[in-house]
Symmetry: C2
Subunit: 584 residues, 2 copies
């Protein structure tokens, strides 16, 4: 008809899924650091260039300053069989180093050699970061204007490229990771790290790894309850592949495998639209379908949920627990597909209201039936974030009414009245379970863990956090008598995570620990060290016979409590504790 | 987690479906007319009050003015067997008339009587209207600010209440409609219209209906191709019943029955979201579901479409044609349910683009299969509004590729190149089919009709349009050699249609012809008269033997062309023509 009408363009929910920009998967150029740094004149004054020396895994070496602190040409690492150990070397040069490559000679001890696939070598890359809140207290809050924050490039991503041109007058750290086979013989293994290239003579460093006569079992069997939340939506967007397509799962495979190797126990699943109100660059959608038919009946479809959970449990091996978010989102809007209008509609209801129960009870009963069919019911929890206690009580009622067997998980503060109903209870950093409660929970096989997020200035895993803080967290789990650690974001990538870890909210790096590619990070490797340390502590607590040794271990562990913690102490504290641990 | 986050409240698509306000279904109070009118003093000066006299169905009697023109105490109507005839009486009083009721004595002719259920009596009610555009040219365009328009109360809705208190110093028109049974004997039937009440002596008027010895068949069999677009969504919202629930269909039943009795041939169906971009108070949603599965396949569901079309064809009897809107909406956004995100997504694509064909071809093939299963394929058309010819050509290609048997309908201007492919082609008022084309189309059984909308200043059916203009339209169909008439809105009600026919777009009344209740209107009854007149013309063209009479008929009909049309001529032209028609 000839009607004058405003053409209203609207496209719903496409959000970041419709992103047209593409981002690097292999080679890329870093952003430019605007910080003052050594001038080319200073760089050229150096007697010897290029140079290679051992550095410290505690240091994020500035990209354009001549390294202040290096540690010669020999380094010695200690580790258990089955443990991953890390070292960092530093390469720097006044001239460009073309097509630099890394290699490590076989690590040999007498007639024994560590297999070459035990070793991984990485060029450390630089990512844009910012800083803590101006008051120095944590990194929460919105950061819409990046210019308000002091930004700089920091060393964090561990690159996967095999050859790099190192820019003139710059530093190129090199990360060495050795996963000692559990079948290795104890002893001192020696090898040589070589950096070679097109326009310079090979540079070499000596590496020794002392394999101790103790064994750390495979991550899958670790007692440590690790729960880093996965974001499959970020992967689909970044890799520009259809969500839940085969390509999508192939893209996720190495990323989730890395997580499994860190000891992850929990699959992150969603049972409603935008459980966290789209706070991440790539919002979480629902993995289940709830359809309201025109006859008033409801039907539910689990195609996506089954495919995702099946992939994680059966193919990746993260199969201990499935956490389903959430019944108490920030925005109390609950989605369903409305057959009458062929649209998505939202029920707006608070826990305790009839509309809330109507929406959830029907779904939860059917969900329980489905989970039992799949054999997943026992490992599934209905998950909540910290909300006011009344709301959580009301939600619990609805869950238990739907199926008394449902497990429930909560990440939040300590609520005495809720505790008995929570299978997986994760406390905010600084909160503790009363010892008898913790005992009871342990005997009941319940999980009692701790989390950090943007709230903590330190210890934390922001891209600007000192690397040792990531390691510290594992020790804290042991010190606090927790079963493990939770972080809200394993890979909720920013728009361009390889180049810029800053986000519209929270201090830089809060949203992810690993990079596309799949690339690990200094933070992730140091966090794994901490998790390994905790596992080792627990093993020694079971196996150490000498009372003196037990006391020494206990004293060492007890240092790792938040009380009177200062940033300066953390790194030396971690190093000293790790030495002691390896001496027991 | 303890994140600071903006709580973004959002509720999608709920639109008017979530309307909390409720609106009257039975008794209600009209808005107040701010127009100057006769003072109470003038009203009280009247020698006789209350008074009742015959009026004219051409006049919308002002509510607060003593009627300027009435026509005594006797009136005579003429009609064919099976025809509906209308008369209007005017009641006015300086004092309030309490509990006024209407009755008509049996209409008697010798020993024959017309059955009482042939008669319906209505208090005419008053609704707020506005005016044509300031330039006097039509009523298109947006009208966000009601104060910019000269608004007034006009007589239009035909109420269903049986007793009314008539306000002091006001006019209460009374509408008389008699549906002459096709079994009635020819002759002059006489009866008495009585208005009685609690506080006044009964008032009476004489009514005579001359039943002519010709028969108008039942509306269902009329040749007149009537296509007034239905809006089921408006009914659900106004009646506050769940869309497509049994209560919804019960609410629609009398409204759609009225439409069937007007000779409606077409069911209005939608096959995508907001085909007209939500231009009406209650937007149209899709009646079919298109789901994109995560394996890339598509599935389609027709539950809503089948229920709506089944209701209209089988229960209401509007079963000649099903028009499905649309492949070329204003906003080229095409909805589907995305299993990956459990959300509604939109394909943004133009006809001719691959994404456009991909979206439509799969659906149309499956739709054809489904329609054949239901036995509806032959009566279904894929419908388009006027769009640029290239886009329409591209859409046609996709349709024919999906199933060469698909019928297509278009309401728009005349496009020679498209005409052969259009089964149902409705031209904008003022456009004509070349005579040979019309001949060919008629022989092929194709429908060739005409439409009016906001464009025409007159003749039109705005709430302020002179009633005879609605009647004129039927004559125009005969004069233009069309098969029928289309209007874009039968019941796309405004927010409060009983009290206020103004809308955010277009001149008042453009959006609907009938009122909730189900209440007819002066416009609707006069439109039905026009349709009946056209049907009578076609019958006489077939049956009149006398050449002179045929010529007389033809001359009379030919007056009804847009050329040189003036508003003043319309009413007398219609009256004269109807006299002649009843004299043949």
């Amino acid at each position: 008809m000839k009607k004058t009408v405003a053409i209203i363009f609207f496209s719903l929910f496409t959000g970041s899924l419709s992103a047209q920009k593409t981002y690097p998967l292999y080679e890329y150029t870093e952003l430019t650091d605007t910080k003052p740094h050594h001038s080319d004149t200073i760089w050229r004054k150096q007697v010897k260039s290029p140079r290679l020396a051992w550095g410290s895994t505690d240091i994020r070496y500035p990209q354009q300053n001549i390294p202040a602190e290096t540690f010669g040409t020999k380094t010695r690492l200690k580790g258990w069989k089955g443990e991953r150990v890390n070292a960092q070397a530093v390469l720097w040069s006044a001239e460009e180093l073309q097509e630099s490559t890394l290699s490590l000679s076989p690590l040999v001890c007498g007639k024994d050699t560590l297999p070459t696939d035990a070793v991984s070598l990485h060029f450390v890359r630089y990512v844009m970061t910012d800083e803590l809140n101006k008051d120095g207290k944590g990194g929460c809050g919105h950061r819409p204007d990046k210019t308000e924050w002091d930004s700089s490039l920091v060393a964090d991503p561990l690159d996967i490229v095999k050859a790099r041109d190192v820019r003139a007058c710059s530093v190129q750290p090199v990360w060495v990771n050795v996963w000692i086979p559990s079948t290795a013989k104890a002893g001192k293994y020696k090898g040589t790290l070589t950096v070679a290239g097109k326009n310079f003579a090979p540079l070499q460093l000596a590496l020794e790894i002392e394999v101790l006569n103790r064994t750390l079992p495979a991550p899958r069997t670790w007692r440590f309850h690790l729960d880093l939340w996965q974001n499959p939506y970020a992967v689909a967007r970044y890799y520009q592949v259809p969500l839940w397509s085969d390509e999508h799962f192939e893209a996720m495979r190495p990323i989730m495998q890395k997580l499994a190797d860190a000891g992850q126990k929990v699959v992150t699943a969603t049972i409603m639209h935008r459980p966290w109100d789209g706070q991440t660059q790539d919002p979480f959608y629902s993995m289940v379908n709830k359809t309201k038919r025109i006859d008033g009946s409801w039907s539910y479809d689990y195609t996506v949920f089954d495919k995702w959970v099946g992939f994680m449990t059966e193919e990746i091996g993260i199969d201990r627990q499935i956490n389903c978010y959430t019944m108490i989102p920030w925005s109390l809007q609950f989605d369903y597909y409305d057959e009458a209008t062929q649209t998505v509609q939202f029920v707006s209801a608070k826990p305790g209201e009839q509309a809330y129960e109507q929406y959830w009870s029907g779904f939860l009963s059917d969900f329980a039936r489905h989970l039992k069919e799949k054999g997943w019911f026992e490992k599934t929890t209905i998950s909540m974030d910290e909300r006011d206690a009344d709301a959580m009580q009301e939600a619990l009622k609805v869950i238990q009414k739907a199926d008394a067997g449902f497990k429930v998980s909560l990440a939040g503060n300590y609520h005495e009245e809720l505790e008995p109903d929570l299978y997986d209870y994760c406390l905010a950093f600084g909160h503790n379970f009363p010892r008898p409660v913790k005992e009871r929970r342990m005997q009941a096989g319940k999980k009692s863990t701790v989390y950090t997020c943007c709230t903590e200035a330190m210890p934390n895993v922001f891209t600007f956090s000192p690397p040792a803080e990531a390691n510290w967290l594992g020790w804290h789990v042991a010190a606090g008598g927790y079963d493990g650690y939770l972080r809200w974001a394993y890979n909720s990538w920013t728009e361009d995570p390889l180049r810029d870890s800053r986000f519209r909210s929270w201090a830089a790096g809060d949203c992810y620990l690993v990079y596309p590619g799949m690339r690990s990070s200094i933070r992730m490797e140091r966090l794994i060290e901490g998790i390994q340390d905790c596992e080792k502590i627990w093993i020694l607590q079971q196996t150490l016979t000498g009372r003196k040794q037990q006391e020494k271990l206990q004293q060492t562990v007890e240092m790792f409590t938040p009380e009177g913690l200062t940033r300066e102490e953390i790194t030396p504290m971690v190093n000293r504790a790790r030495e002691i641990l390896n001496s027991l």
